[in-house]
Structure formats: C-alpha cells, structure tokens
Symmetry: C2
Subunit: 257 residues, 2 copies
C-alpha cells in the first residue's frame, strides 16, 4: 500500500537522529544504517568516523539503505552532532560515575517518543565498537539507555545495539501513553553556549585549581546542567545569574561585553 | 554477581531452541549465536548448513559465544530439529497461503513464554538468508512471527532477526501474565508419526490424485494438524481413527501391522 509507505516515510523524516560517535569500521556504519531503516529511521549522523566518509564498505553493508536515506551528516564533535536536539539518550552497557536517569531500551524509547510527540528533536548516541561512549559524551545526554542483556555475555555489536533501540522506538508508535510536557526545553546549542560561558567564567575566577581535575569537574557540571532539562527561559535566567555574579554580560568571543 | 549469572545460565538451559534452517554463511550462524547468547539463549540447532559444520567463520563471528554454549546440534531435516518441541514459531516477513496465527515478535515471545512456564519446550525457526523458510517448514509451526518493520525496507539480516526474537523472549521474563495451559500438548516427533501414517494411508487410498498437487496438499494438512495444538491423548485418538477407517493398525516400516 503506497499510503502506508508514505506515512512511514513521513514518520521517518520526523524521527530521531541516530548518532554514531567515532565509529571505526565502515561495515558497522552500513549495518547500522540498514538496521535503522528497517525500523523506519533515516537520520544518521556520524562523529569523526575513523576511516573517513563516504565509505564503500558502509555502502555495501547497508544493503541499499544508505541510498534510500538523506545524506549522512558528519561532525567533528559530539556537541555539534546533538546541537539541534532537545532530548538525547546515550546507549552504554556500563553504569558510569555520573548521575543520570537510566532507562531500558523500551523505557527510553517510550520516554523519547513522548517528547517527540510534543515536537522535540530526539538523538540517540552510540559509542565506538569497543570503547563505547566516553564520559564527556554521556555528560551531554539527558539519560542513559542500558539494554538489559545476559550479564555473562553482554557485548553487543554496534549495529545490533542500533537495531534494538530503533526497534523499540518503532514499536512504541502505537502504545504511547499521553504524557504531556508543557515546557519548551532548551536545544543543545543553547546549552553549549551556557557551558562555554560558565566554564570560561569559572576558569577566570580560579575555580579549577587543579588542572588535572578540570576535565572531570567540567564533565560533572555539564552532566548536571543537562540533567536539569532546562527550558529556554531557565537557560536565559542562568545566563542572567552569571551576568549578575560576574558583572559582565558575556565573555564569549562573539559577545557584546 | 555469580548468583545472577548462575540464575541466567539456568534459565538459558531451559530456554527455547533457536533453529536455523539451511543457513548459508558461517558468519551469519556465528553472529546469530552471539545475538542469542546476548539474550541468554544457548540452544542453537542448524538444519543442513550449506557450508558444513563446524565452521571457523562462525566461531570467529560469534565473539566467543559458540565456545560458551552447549555444542550446536546439526540436523538433516526441519522435522528432526523440532522433534522434541511442544511449541514452534516460524519467523517470516511474508504472509503465506496457510492458516496460521500471526504474532508480532513481542506477542510471540509472550505466547511462547507462557507455554515455557508450563514446562513446554519451545523452538523458534529461522529460514535461510535470502530465501527464508519454505512452506513445508512453516507448516510444522504453531504460528508465525512477523516482525513489524518498515514496509519500504524490511529485509532483515539473519542474526538481527534472531536478535529481535531472542531479545523479546528475554524481556518477557518479568512481565508474563499468568495464563494457564491445562493440557499436555504433543511433541513434534509424535506428530510426525501421525503425519507419516496419515499420508501413507491417504496415498494408498488414492487421495492424492494429481501428483503435482500432492506437496501442497500434504503441507496444508500438516499445517492444519499442527495448528490444532493436539494433546497426546488427541493424537492417540487420531491414530485410533485411522486404524478404524483403514482396518489396520499402522502402515509404518516399524509398525506391527
């Protein structure tokens, strides 16, 4: 039925972005693309693919999926890749030393679908084949999806992790409870402006005494601010607090201070 | 936690058999084994693997899974591979010209789990990479699992089909409603004795007038009898009907007629 296909194509257009961070083998990117499209998702983003892009091996392994999708978007940082997203979930098998809401794939898909139905842009982050996501990437996420697997044998192929998340997303389609989100959350690019400004000011004010500890301090700060799920108004308020505390409007290069 | 692992290993021991019919590439068998074990299943059966067994490529692609599982069982017919099963579901993307209950992966997993909790042995059938299952195999199944995928791009890699079914099986673990099955269903080997006897008698009695149509007639008959979900007593009754109608106890080679 053409009607069915059109509806699904349209849903795919509005669907979440699958974001592969530092993927190594082109084959895995292609297999991930195939798995996504199997489940009606067609927005693939990749951050610093080790072997470059485009990739003939990815094309071959995608079984035609890459040719049917909009062009893959390539980024040089995870922050750029999630800049337009309102809600980001990171998939990781390992619990991290960070306070994040943890979802099963199913619960994460339901949570994301509810926000998507309110017009929010969703991103699902996947790490490299062996290394997974680094803490800096996880800090940019609103929550973590931990797929509940056999604890004795839990290492999942990248494309299979993408498949399970995309599948759960697709299956939520019919069964989403009508939970409402009344506020407009901030997009990640606005949040990054806030991070940059805050961290610059903290640096200027001697907050990071031990340079060795600065990366983890920054990470925990970002994680905290992401988790707060701020609205745009709240982000502006936060900027206002910084302005008030420091006495200057913005220390960013493009600022008007 | 060793306790957690032990519980899961025990569940795996009692878990469904994943049955790959005529798989072609060893790589796909290995990837399927990995996906199964990710989800706590470790009973792999293969019917007529094209490239033989054991397979070095399968070992390599399984990422160690094959070494952690009981030895793979190899069969020369699908009927043999399901002989000890009480409940068999066939995965196929295509609706067939046969009356079968059709399940989503989730509904099929719930259905199978309910029977497993009553001590029934479960089998999930998967066809070859491109060809899928033939109608003769589907006829041996109590129902069909059709994974709901993007209708514009639904061809799923073998290992990914195994992953989705095994995953849904694993996830049903916690949320199975307490439906009861009071009767003991017949195992497939008993059913096959019945098929063989019935078909031999029908042949002897000129039932299959057109030899060209015999295969599809047999298939539909088997499909019907499987779908009936007979108890052992009912199978005996059916044998009794044949005995009564034909006037002889059993025309099988090892029979006592």
């Amino acid at each position: 039925m053409p009607g069915t296909d059109k509806t699904l194509a349209q849903k795919a257009t509005e669907g979440p972005a699958i974001i592969l961070v530092n993927p190594q083998m082109g084959e895995n990117i292609g297999a991930a693309a195939r798995a996504m499209l199997n489940c009606g998702l067609d927005r693939l983003r990749i951050v610093n693919p080790r072997d470059g892009w485009p990739s003939e091996r990815a094309e071959a392994m995608s079984s035609g999926a890459l040719g049917m999708m909009p062009p893959v978007q390539v980024y040089t940082s995870t922050a750029d890749a999630v800049a337009d997203c309102h809600f980001v979930l990171a998939t990781t098998a390992r619990p991290r030393d960070m306070v994040k809401q943890v979802f099963t794939a199913r619960a994460g898909a339901i949570e994301a679908r509810q926000r998507s139905l309110q017009g929010r842009k969703i991103g699902f982050l996947f790490g490299a084949e062996r290394a997974g996501l680094v803490n800096e990437d996880i800090a940019l996420s609103h929550g973590v999806i931990t797929i509940p697997l056999n604890p004795g044998f839990s290492s999942l192929n990248l494309a299979q992790a993408v498949l399970l998340v995309a599948y759960e997303w697709m299956v939520t389609d019919d069964e989403t409870p009508g939970r409402q989100f009344d506020t407009v959350p901030v997009t990640h690019d606005k949040l990054h402006e806030l991070f940059a400004r805050l961290e610059t000011e903290l640096e200027a004010h001697g907050f990071f005494r031990n340079p060795d500890q600065k990366p983890s301090m920054v990470r925990n700060l970002r994680s905290l601010l992401v988790r707060a799920d701020m609205t745009e108004q709240e982000a502006r308020t936060f900027h206002g607090m910084i302005t008030a505390l420091t006495g200057r409007k913005s220390p960013l290069p493009d600022g008007q201070d």
